[in-house]
Structures are given as C-alpha cells and as structure tokens.
C-alpha cells in the first residue's frame, strides 16, 4: 500500500514538474516574441528619425545620401541581414553626428535629442531580447525539455548578433 502511495506521489510530482516546466518555457517564448516586437518597433522608429535627419539641414548632400540609403536598407532588410543593416545605419549616424557642436537649429536639436533617447532605449531593448533568446536556447537544450518535447512546434529563436556599437 505504501509503495503505491509512493509511486502515485512520484507520478504526480513528475506531472507537476512537466506542467511547471512547460509554463516556464511558454513564458520564455512569449518574452522572446514581445521583446523582439519591441526592439523591431524601436529600430523602425530610429530609421524614420534617420530619414528625417537626412532631410533636415544637419546633413550635407553627401551624408544625406548615405544616411537615406542606410535607413532604407535597415527598413527593408530581412531577418538574416537585419543586424548588419542596423549596424550600417549606426555607422552612418555616427559619422554624421561626430561633432554635434555645429548644430544650431532648435528643430535639429530636438531631432538629435529624440535620437539619443531612442538609442538608450534600443540598448536596453537589445539587452532584454538577447537575454530572452539565450535563456530560451539554454532551457531548450535541457534533457527534460527535449525528451518530452515541451517546446512543441515553436521554432528555436535565433540569436541576432547586435554589435555593441549600436549608437
């Protein structure tokens, strides 16, 4: 009789653990998705501001051309080329904004302040997203998760190699 109770306990505990693990993984998948959606939105906004800067009096014709091209590239890039395109945009913005002291107009200053605030957010968003992806990959490599296929049909999240030079 006591044996049965023990088996029952082990089975129940096992079931609870599986349910708990599934919830855990579900939460991680959810976080990967939301953090990416957030990051994507911020990057889109950055590209939009870059285009505005390109059109404003901050940039000379040559850098305007460079910036416009980079911004469009970042917007149109597919997932594999995204991080490279975003780094390209960072580089273009960096070139242009090297010396901010020459910028006088108030609209331009607003634009730059908005950009720098956005950049701070992008940095945090990247940290959160990369962390979520790494965690998910780590958890999915674990024995229990693989054997019981707790991930279901959800695709393994891809690490986006964001360089730290994102402005």
């Amino acid at each position: 009789m006591r044996d049965y109770a023990l088996y029952l306990f082990i089975i129940l505990f096992g079931l609870w653990y599986l349910s708990y693990s599934a919830t855990r993984l579900d939460r991680l998948h959810h976080r990967v998705e939301t953090s990416w959606a957030n990051l994507d939105g911020l990057l889109q906004r950055r590209a939009a501001i870059a285009l505005e800067i390109a059109r404003s009096s901050i940039s000379d014709p040559a850098s305007a051309l460079l910036l416009t091209a980079a911004a469009h590239q970042a917007r149109d890039a597919d997932i594999e080329n995204r991080s490279m395109a975003e780094s390209g945009l960072s580089g273009a913005l960096g070139l242009l904004l090297n010396d901010e002291s020459s910028i006088i107009g108030s609209i331009e200053k607003d634009l730059l302040r908005e950009l720098s605030e956005l950049t701070d957010k992008v940095r945090v968003a990247i940290a959160i997203h990369v962390d979520a992806v790494n965690r998910t990959q780590m958890v999915r490599r674990k024995f229990v998760f693989r054997v019981f296929r707790l991930a279901g049909r959800a695709p393994l999240p891809v690490t986006y190699e964001f360089e730290s030079d994102v402005l």
Partner: protein
C-alpha cells in the same frame, strides 16, 4: 519623465528600519518615483510598524542571518509568503522591482509568486562558492522570470554571471548630489583632518588599516586628526586604540545629511580603507559629491567607481604603509588635493538620482512592453485554464 503614471511595487529584502545600502537605495528610488507622480508601494520586513512612511507595507518582523560577512535582517517562510501574495494581488501593479532577489528573502518569494514584468536589481558582489549561491539550480527558473536585470556595479554584474550564468545592465546606485553640493566649512573639522563615515566596528570597513597607518602619517603631519562618523560603540572601540593616538580620534556618532555635507566639505581627505564585501561604495560617491579628496583601497568596486584612480587616490587594500604614503602626499600637496576633489565632484553628478532614476525608468518601460500588469503566477497556470478558472485580469 513621461505622462503615463505607473503603479510600481518595490520589494526590499532587508529590514526597513535597520541601516543599510540597499534600504537607502530603495527609499530614495521610491521617493524619487513618487515625486514624479507614480504610485509606489514598498514591501519590506519591518521591526517597528509605527515608524514607517505611508508607502511602506510591512511583511513581518525580520530575522537575522549571517550573510556576506555581515548580519543580514531578512524574512521568509509561509507567513511572509502569504503576505507577499496578498500584497501582489491587492495592488494591481504595472511592474515589480525586486531588490537582491537571489538571496532567501521576500524578494525571492515575490519573484516566485508573481507573473508579469519584473525588474531585479542585484547589489551584492560576493566571492564564488558562497553557500547561498549553491542553490543555483533551484534559483535559476525563478530568477529567469525577471524581464530585466540590473547590477549596481561591474563587480555585482560579474558575481551574477559567475553564479547564475546571466547578464545584467549596469546602473549605479543613486545619490542626491545636491544634498552634498553646498556643505559649509566647519572650523573644528578643518585642517589636517581625515574623515571616515560608516559602521566602524565592522572589520570589513577597514578602520584597523587606518589605525595602523596613523602613526606613520602623524610623523609627517603632527597635527593630523581622524573624524569618525557612524553608528557604533565608540567607547568600546576607543579601548582598542593605541594610547598615544587616542587624542587624535573624534567620534561624531550618527550625523544628519547636512552635517555629512559639512564634514565632507571641511575635511582634508576622506579615507575608505574597506577590505572587501563592498559592491558599489555609495559613500565614496557621496564623498566625491561633497567635494572631498578621496583615498580608497583598490578593491574592485572602489577601483571601478573611482575610474581606476582618476577621481580619487587608490592604495593596495590592507596595506597601511601605502595608505600612509598616499595620505601624506595629499596632505602635503594642497594643489593636487584640490584638483582631485574638483574632478571627483564633477564626476559625482553622474550618480545623481536625476540621471540614475531615468536610466532605471527606461528599463521599466522596456520591460513592460506588451504586458497587462503583474498578477499572481498561480492564476495563470495551465491547469487553472484547463479547469476553466481564468486569471481574473484576463
């Protein structure tokens, strides 16, 4: 700060009415956020419930356990857990900010109990193989629930990567820099004086190192005096001081912020001889903001806070001879001292709450994206859904 007002729940693991760095940090952050119009509730262990501010909710009386070379007053157990759950479910927070969630405390319980956007701040910098971190595998799934992690220093971040294999964003502790900006010179505290603020009885604060260095310093600066502020039994400590040096010590006891500012402005050098166990060194940030020339041991936290010697002089930890050398050099060379203090004061603005809280706030914002607020985790479990008992916020 944005227009949207948030409901923020902050959990402080250590007893609210015992002095400590984490408690101060939580208090200042809560008051800053409240002053910006947010709703903030702090959950903390409290000894005397009649003396806490409105925004603090008591989780019960703390118990003392030895932790990280000091006695920590924390709280856990079933009753505390029930209070944590009650606090979470009745407040409908947008976000929880848990402090030091990796030690057995109400922060960890809150992390376990809640579901939704959570930010964790890690304060401690501990050496590897502490028993408290040996429970890593159990902690892992809990800590994982934190949407974003903050470390208060590079040292704390390193501890986190080593013990829990996860990264964090570094945001330093905050100070109200303007409290210390306009200290007045008090005559009796000026001259060749060395300042020290803190719980001087604790060995890791390093006062014995300063004691050992003092005879050497006195040889070159005969009128040198040491001013010690902070809680502790000064009579007991006085007995341990060499009879010839006794007159050089003055114990000020606990001092107010105003007195602290005046002290920092008046003294010639501020000495922080800590031997370890320090993760950030808030007192150094305050000393810099108060315009003192700072001399500190080269433990990792101080080294990084002082920009590797750029904003304050460093000496090899637990080495009285080197400490004496650095202090004598500064006492003799007024121009060097003034320059050091000036650089430090400008640099200290970086730790002002206006800067630090904005950084924390932007992490809050990023963590809350796509969420519907904080609720109890049990309302969200699969089997609850299976039974048709949906979480009440859904």
């Amino acid at each position: 700060m944005p227009i949207k007002k948030l409901r923020i729940g902050i959990v402080c693991p250590y007893g609210w009415d015992t002095p400590g760095g984490v408690q101060n940090h939580v208090r200042d952050l809560a008051e800053y956020l409240i002053s910006k119009g947010h709703f903030v509730s702090v959950l903390a262990p409290v000894i005397d419930e009649s003396k806490v501010p409105d925004y603090v909710t008591s989780a019960g009386k703390p118990i003392s356990i030895p932790y990280n070379g000091a006695v920590a007053r924390v709280l856990f157990g079933p009753i505390a857990f029930a209070r944590v759950r009650q606090w979470i479910s009745s407040n409908e927070f947008d976000l929880l900010h848990l402090h030091e969630p990796a030690i057995p405390s109400i922060s960890l319980l809150a992390c376990w109990a809640a579901d939704g956007p959570m930010v964790g701040t890690f304060h401690a910098a501990a050496k590897r193989q502490k028993a408290i971190f040996a429970i890593g595998p159990i902690l892992e799934p809990v800590i994982e629930k934190l949407t974003a992690r903050i470390a208060v220093s590079e040292a704390a971040r390193l501890t986190l990567t080593e013990h829990l294999d996860t990264d964090a964003i570094v945001v330093p502790n905050g100070i109200y820099a303007d409290h210390y900006r306009d200290g007045e010179v008090v005559q009796k505290w000026s001259g060749n004086t060395i300042g020290f603020i803190g719980r001087f009885e604790e060995p890791r604060k390093g006062l014995p190192v300063l004691l050992a260095a003092l005879p050497i310093i006195a040889r070159f600066a005969p009128d040198v005096r040491v001013l010690i502020a902070g809680p502790g039994d000064s009579e007991e400590f006085r007995k341990s001081i060499d009879i010839q040096l006794k007159d050089r010590f003055e114990f000020l006891g606990r001092i107010s912020d105003k007195e602290k500012a005046d002290l920092l402005t008046s003294i010639a050098v501020y000495v922080a001889p800590n031997t370890g166990g320090e993760s950030f060194g808030i007192i150094l940030a305050e000393a810099l903001a108060g315009g003192a020339a700072v001399v500190a041991s080269d433990i990792p936290a101080f080294d990084s806070l002082l920009g590797h010697g750029e904003y304050g002089a460093l000496f090899p930890s637990e080495n009285p001879q080197e400490l004496a050398k650095v202090v004598i050099d500064l006492l003799r060379n007024e121009e060097k001292r003034k320059n050091l203090a000036k650089r430090g004061k400008e640099y200290a603005q970086r730790f002002d709450w206006d800067v630090v809280a904005e950084e924390i706030y932007s992490i809050y914002e990023m963590s809350m994206v796509g969420s519907t607020g904080v609720r109890l985790a049990s309302e969200n479990r699969g089997w609850q859904r299976f039974l048709g008992r949906e979480g009440k916020d859904e």
